[in-house]
Structures are given as structure tokens and as C-alpha cells.
């Protein structure tokens, strides 16, 4: 038997269970566990199937959507490889610095966490991120930002996305 995703030893369900355990452990012993962030390791291998996008919408936002996802895949014409547009997990986030209301705080491991209660939907964070990794919700105008949960990683058939350990 040949599996597409050589990095996945056991089916997703099983891996999820283990992943959840680690997450629990991490929440309890926050300072002990090494923080992780989502990284695009093999961009050039992308086939443009959008399964990461669908996974983000489905697993995190409970929706079937291409737009309501914190990751996007963009074709670059016939000649170049796809772009995978997602938060790169800055240690000193540019978007955070642009936020006038203090709605964004640093996430351990990189990137930001949004506090919706403080967000005025001004869109300045979106403008600050020139990678285009922040989208605004069409209805609320609030930012859709990757929280580096790693749900998409399990659904990339080519092992392009990985959760990478980060030194704080």
C-alpha cells in the first residue's frame, strides 16, 4: 500500500486524538511545552486542491466555505507554483502594532490572538499585513486570522504544512 502523505503514519482520526491530548497537556503546563506555529514547508509541492482551506473552515469555523478560512491558496497562472497565503507567525507582529484598540495580543509561539470584544473592525491589521494573511469577515468586518491550531496540517495530502516548534 502506498499512501500519499508519507508523513502521516496513522489515519487522521487517531492523530487528532493524540493531538488533542498534547493540547490539553500544553494548556495545563503552558510554560513547559514548546510552542508551535504553522509553517509552509514545501510550498512548491502544492497541487491547489484547497483541502487545507476547507479544513480550516470546517474544523475551526464550523462552516463549508472558501472565504471563511484563515488560509488561502491562490493560483499564479500556468507558469508558477501556487501561493499559500497564511499567517507566518511573527514574533513581533506588525498587525498587532497597527491595531489601535488593543484587540490583538501576542500568541505564544508567534502570531496573534484576537479579542473580539475590543475589535472595532477598522481593518488596519489587514492593511498592515502585506502578505494578505488577514481577511475581513464580509458581515462583521472583523479580521479572520490564523490561530496556528494546526487543523489544516492533517488535511494536506502532500505534507506541505507542518507545525513547527518555536523557541520563545
Amino acid at each position: 500500500m502506498v499512501v500519499f502523505n508519507k508523513s502521516l503514519k496513522e489515519p487522521v482520526e487517531e492523530k487528532k486524538r493524540i493531538f488533542r491530548k498534547i493540547k490539553l497537556f500544553k494548556d495545563k503546563h503552558y510554560t513547559l511545552a514548546m510552542a508551535k506555529k504553522l509553517t509552509v514547508r514545501h510550498l512548491e509541492r502544492c497541487v491547489g486542491c484547497l483541502n487545507c482551506v476547507m479544513a480550516c473552515a470546517r474544523e475551526r469555523f464550523n462552516k463549508l466555505s472558501i472565504d471563511q478560512a484563515a488560509i488561502a491558496v491562490k493560483a499564479a497562472g500556468q507558469t508558477a507554483y501556487y501561493s499559500i497565503i497564511v499567517c507566518r507567525g511573527c514574533q513581533d507582529p506588525v498587525c498587532l502594532r497597527a491595531c489601535p484598540t488593543g484587540a490583538l495580543r501576542k500568541r505564544p509561539g508567534g502570531g496573534v490572538i484576537l479579542n473580539k470584544a475590543k475589535c472595532d473592525a477598522c481593518g488596519l491589521c489587514k492593511d498592515a499585513c502585506i502578505l494578505g494573511a488577514i481577511k475581513l469577515d464580509q458581515i462583521t468586518g472583523m479580521p479572520i486570522i490564523c490561530i496556528h491550531c494546526g487543523q489544516c496540517v492533517d488535511f494536506c495530502p502532500h505534507g506541505i504544512l507542518v507545525m513547527e516548534e518555536v523557541e520563545d
Binding site: F4, N5, G48, C49, V53, D67, A75, S83, P157
Partner: protein
Amino acid sequence: MKIADINLTTRKVKILEDEKYNAFLGGVSLATELFVKNCKPDIDPLGKENIIVFAKGPLTAAFPTASKAVALFKSPVSNELGESYAGGRMASAMRFSGYDALLIRGKASHPVYIAIHDDTIAIKNAELLWNLRSVFVVGRVLRDAEPQGPGRRSFIRSGRAGDRLIRYANLNVDNYRHFGRLGLGAVFGSKNLKALVIEGTKDFKFADMKAYKTAYREVYNYLTHSDVMDKYHILGTSAGILPINAMGALPTRNYSIGTFEAAEQISGEYYAENLLLRKIACSQCPVGCIHIAYLRIPYRKEEYDVETTFVPYDYELIYALGTNLGVSDAKDVLRLIELADRNGVDIISLGGILGWATDAFANGLITINDTLGVKFEFGDVSNYLTAISLIIRRENEFYRTLGEGLDACVEKYGGAEYAIRIGGQTPAGYMTGPASILGHIIGQRHSHLCNGGYSYDQKTFGKKIGYKEMVDALVTEEKWRQILNSLVICLFARKVFTIDRTLKSLNSIGIAFTKEELLTLADETYEKKNAWKKAAGQIISQKNLAKKIYSFKTLHGFIKKNFLQKAIEYYSELSGIPYEVG
């Protein structure tokens, strides 16, 4: 169900939102209901009365491999029901723009394209796109002209072949997928319609998201952790070249023989090792079977100038413009594919036409005056390249006839024995035995994918099968595929969507169908199409089968006329479609 009814003559768009259509599930069942109610069977396929129905399925975008869209129209090739499927991003774009089906009718006063962005449906001027030399350029212009939307947009367009009403013109979907067969490109051309752009930002929530996620994972895991999709993922469909050649079932030099001496040089393995640029996937499909080769052709060699193009290849294309024309160089096959693809013609049909022309030329039915100096000869690529360009240009009477299809060629120049055709078009290249041929004849769209006759031949190798048993097996398979085509999944994943998994998937997103309801719907759809086909004057017959077919040694020996006739008569009894003795 939400259906957009677009009238190109009056430029009016009606939106139908009606729950009564829910009973038709989606895909081909929904499209059939809309098509037979709106298109009269006796119309001219290139007249303004023809209508086109596109539909997505209930699982589209929600489940992996449910990535296809179906089109129904009256075919200018077979002059009966046209049914065609394409992948790419189209079905997904229909889902997120909120439409289950699109109905296009009438004829625009001048070239137009339809741009759908969520609830906006605009009919825009396309005069600047008409007769452009490449479908890829059309795509590029539209990508810049229309609002952005990463991963959401789909561009469906015809090439010059469609604009010039070459009957077997195709539609290009997102560069590398096609509504290939039965001439939908020509129907677009006849409506002054150049392209269809679809994009949308809608989102959906299902009542039981937990059940949906579980069902999704089951399908996803099976797709990625079993070996069912290996054939398609690893080498793509061109994995078939060597084994089918070994079976003696690979049509070579216009169906003269079933093995090609240079098969290794144009095999899936050769392409993957030497010319594969990359693989890409349709939306929401983890398989990624689309194999794209790069084709590098130096010009002005002393200055090291080079033109590089990107050419998708598949088993059927390599057979049609490779083995069937005796072309033994992998790059030469790509050159032929590229030229045909850029102009938007169906490559299997084109291969059959060029095969006929080569035999007809060798036997003096057509002369060098007709061909404007082109010496048709198997293996001679430069002549074939010139001929393709002349067909696209509709240069003289001879090349205009080539653009009208095999039936027209035979009527004008004779040479029925060289015309390999079923339903007016060349079959896909699987000369595995009687089920393959019979499957093409009785299949509702005369395709190898109607009922998988080629696969049945391989499964029953060494067994003697009666005609009734064979017809029954093919009809049962074709009826089941009405469901797969209503979902609309990619038929490559047909082993993944068993009845149980299909029901579980549907139920998980709140579509309450039972097994019995599905099977009844399959029967009804199948019969509804047959009734329309009968009214359109379809007759099942082996009359147009070339002699070559009967002298072709297949896995099951020679194909016997008597056997086929009995099978045809039996099928006629079952379906009510009249037959003819041939």
C-alpha cells in the same frame, strides 16, 4: 434548489428557487429534469433553440472528489443528447455562488460572456475575445478583467474551434480540464457565447456539523490511506498505456492493430520520468491526477531562443494523437495536444478525423489538391500540425468538412471503412472486447465512462459471456452511475462512493435520501434521458462500425457482428429505443 435561467436573446435572467427540485438530488438527475422540460428533441443543435444546463451536485465542495460539474445540451456531433463532465474549480464555484444549476438559452446578438459573482449575473461584451488564438489567453484576460477571489473563481471558455463552429469543439475549464466530448464548444459558439466566469463567497452550515466532519474524515481517510486512487495519483490515466498495449487493446494507426511498437516511448512512465512539470488537483480533491508536462521547443537555434508551453496529458490524448496516428516521440505527441488544446477541439474526435484522413489519403479518396499539399502519413507530425491549423482555419471545402465530423467526411468523400465512429465520434481507445464496443453503442453519451465496458471486458477475461448478461451488466452499471453523476463525484473515485458511503455522506449534510429513493431516481433519470433521445430520433445500430473493428483482435478475440446485433436488439427491447440492422 436555486437555478439561474439565463436568456442570451433577451438578456433576461430569472432566478428559480423551488423546493420541488430537491427530489432530483442534483447533478445529472437535476440537469435531466431541467433539460428535457426545456429543450425540444427535434431542434437544430447549433440553432438558438438549443439550451445548455450546467449542474453541480449535493456533495460538491463538501466532500473530497465531488469536484465535477455536468453539462447537458443537444449535441452537434451526435445530433442527440449531449452529456459531458468537467472538473477544475467550476462545480465548487457554483456551490459558493449559490447556484445548483444554470440554464442558458437563446443566442446573443454579438459575442458575450457571462460573469457570475454571487447574486450578480452579468452578460458582458466578449468581442475582443472572439477568435483569439489561444484559450489560455482568453483565460488570462478574464482573470485580470474580473474581480479577484483566490481559489474561488472558475473560467469556462471556448477556443477558436468553438467560435468557428467546428462541431467537436470543446470547452476549457480552468486551463487543464474540459467538457471534452460531444461539441459543447460549438454550442457556445452558436450562441455567440465565449465564456462563463463563476465566483462566489457564500458559506454553508449543516445541521449536524459533527456528523458531517465524521463522514468527511471517513471519505478523506479512505482516499488518502488506501491504494484505490494510486493509479490516478502516481502516473495518472496514462498509466494505462503499457498494460493496455500489452493486452493488444491500444488502437494504433487508425485501429489497424492493438499494439504500438513505440509504446514505451510515449508511456505514462516515460512522461513522468522525463517531461512531467507538476501535478495539480481539482478543487477539494486530494488526489491531484492532472499531470502537466512542459514542452520546450527551440526556435532560432543559433540564438538559443525557446518557446515553452505546459501541456496536460492523459491516456486518451496519447492514444488519439499518439498511437492512433503512429506518432512515437513523446514531445511530438505533446506538440499535437498543445495545438489542439489551445484551439479548443476535442482531442479524441480530432484523432479519429486525422486517422480517417490518413487512410483516405493513402487510398486515393482525397488528393493533394484537397489537402492543400499536406501529405497525411502515419507518424508525420509536421503534416498533422499543419492539418490541425487548417481545420481550425476552415481553410477550404475539405478542411471545412473535417471540422464537421466523421459522418460528414464519409458522406462527402466515402471511406466508411476508415471512419472509426460510434454516435458520430471516435470512441476512447479501449479495444478490450465486445463490452467496450457495445458499451459505447448503448451508452447514453457514447462514452467509455457511461458504463465502463472496457473494465467489464478485463474483469471477464477468459470467460464466455452471453449477450443478455453483458447488456444487463452494462445497463446496471450505467444506472448506478446516474447516482454517482448526480452527486457529482469524479468517476475515478467511484470505488470510494459505495452506496453505504454515499448515503452516509448525504445524510450527514442533512439530505435525507434512502437507498430505495436513490435507486428509483437513477432509473427515472436513465429512462427520462432515453425517452428524450428516442424523440430526438436516436436509433441504436452497428451500421456505422468500420470493418476494422471486426477484424481487430481483442482480449476476447474478434468482435462478432451477430453477437452485437443480438445485444443491440435485446437492449432495444429493454429501453424502447428502436434499432437498425447493420
